[in-house]
Amino acid sequence: MKKLVLLLVAVAMILPLTLSSCGGGGEKLYLFNWIYYIPDDVLEDFTKETGIEVVVDSYASNEEMYNKVVAGGAGYDIVVPSGDYVSIMIAGSLLEPIDKSRLKNFGNIDPAAIARIGFDVGNTHSVPYMMGAAGVSINTTKVSGYEHSWSIFDRPDLQGRMTMLDDMREVLGAALKSLGYSVNDADPAHLEEARLVVERWKPNLVKFDAEAFAKSFAAGEFWVVQGYAENVFLEYPEDRRAEVDFFFPKEGMPMYMDSLCILKGAKNVDQAYEFIDYILRPDVAARIADYLMLPSPNVPARALMQVQPNYEFTDLANGEFKEDLGQETLKLYNDAWRRIRVGN
């Protein structure tokens, strides 16, 4: 009996150890990415072509990925941060510089998109993967007579039927844009104005939600939600998609650019370059864009796309990339956001 227990304990302790260290030889690449951001068959084809096995783990937000990397949780070769986090990670020396001469497909990326990048001018440490923005989705069977504007959140008749993202930059960015300011505005007075706008919207909102809003929108519970098109359309019944009006407010909106970056200390740098270049190939980029139903920043890929994206590249004209705010301004944003979330 005693021996049995001891044996079981020994097995229990050894099992996690052995399992984590096993998994044969061969070339590997460790990718830390947003979930569902690269179709599995693209990864499989990459392995078939190159013999490099891709091990993928996923995260749900830049903050999670970043904190894990900062606290020492490396072990990955490639991460896919959004623009503001690219600049934070460059400043923190967490990224390897990118040698563009090793990426023969880099030229495929739309120069118009690159020109708008402020977070990594010249793309010294990042390679654009996908760009897009959160917009507003409206259930047109329930709501009518609205403008394509942030002012929709001012409508008290929709009280209890609207949500905004639980995301400081997106919500304050929306308010700043509605006032005609930059989404990266550092002026405390402007920020205070923006806070008051959000406080004005808040009584009309059910909640700030970045997780479950799309499900409840699809169920008809929420009628107006701020969020990403891909989240909303993945949940909405396919045959009733025409009911949804997804738009970017005319005042403009915060925009993101997710980029492929090589982590400092990555062990499989050659494989990482091979992978990034593979992703930049027009046929591969087109498959990814088709899968995500997003416009591709890869110019030759656009002609190869077979699926109508949720919005066009040109729809993003009003958008502005979120940049890192710097510690002082970030604190202002945090204070404003905390006051909104906690209530005064």
Partner: protein
């Protein structure tokens, strides 16, 4: 004669219904044809997808099962021994032990996760399923410890002394007297540990390494994109599997006992 506890039975029955309600929804959705919340018709497509085309989900499930069972087992053994020691024996650091055992319950999960990660990377321990296991044992330990201790606290040391007076060795006392007396606490502790381990995603997120994704991590990273009903199907399979396993192991144990 035993009095029939009618009030408590009514509360218990209601509670089981309350606890199982989400499960019913889950079962229903796992057979729903469409992905969205509304019922569109019976379908087995999510089960088909689960069994034919979800290798990554199964890997995550496998990781979760390994970590849950092994961490619960280790925590149960260590925690039970600790509770026995604290309840019946005098030894150095006794008060220290009983104070630190409930600290892991109090610290917020995210703080435990980050601090463990800093610690692991500080001592150069490579992140893997093993670090997840270590973290899970750490947060499971207090629950097992306190559950067993709550069970033991009213038992007097005289039962041990009595066993010794009858000539039992230390090991015999442990196996024949102490452990049987603690059993309901040990079983509760083990079940609690398995459950906690299967649920955790905050701490796990920080201490896991490449390729060691657990089920909650997989689901959590997916929530913004709408959790696929495949996960509902997996949950149903898992519950049915657990019930069959428990039931058959009971019968096996009974068979052994009868021999």
């Amino acid at each position: 004669m035993k009095r029939r506890p009618s009030f408590s039975r009514a509360v218990f029955a209601t509670t089981i219904v309350f606890l199982s309600m989400p499960l019913l929804v889950l079962v229903l959705y796992s057979f729903n044809e469409s992905k969205s919340g509304s019922w569109t018709g019976f379908s087995l497509r999510w089960y088909a997808q689960l069994f034919l085309d979800s290798p990554r989900l199964w890997r995550a499930f496998g990781n979760s099962a390994i970590v849950a069972l092994s961490s619960a087992l280790v925590a149960t053994v260590i925690g039970t021994l600790g509770a026995i020691a604290v309840n019946w024996y005098r030894f150095p650091l006794r008060k220290y032990l009983r104070t630190i055992t409930f600290l892991p319950m109090i610290l917020p999960e995210i703080i435990i996760g980050v601090s463990l990660l800093i610690f692991f990377s500080g001592i150069g321990l490579r992140l893997s399923l093993f670090t997840v296991f270590v973290a899970h044992v750490s947060f499971n330990l207090p629950f097992v410890f306190l559950l067993v201790l709550a069970r033991l606290e009213e038992f007097d040391a005289s039962i041990i002394e009595a066993a010794r007076d009858l000539g039992a060795s230390e090991a015999q006392t442990l196996v024949r007297v102490i452990i049987p007396v603690s059993m309901p606490g040990i079983v509760s502790g083990f079940l609690t540990a398995v459950t906690l381990s299967l649920e955790d995603f905050v701490i796990t997120f920080f201490v896991t390494g490449p390729g060691a994704t657990t089920l909650p991590l997989y689901v959590y990273s997916a929530i913004r994109f709408g959790v696929s009903p495949v996960i509902n199907a997996l949950s149903v399979v898992m519950i049915v599997g657990t019930i069959i396993l428990t039931w058959s192991s009971r019968n096996v144990l009974k068979y052994i006992a009868a021999k």
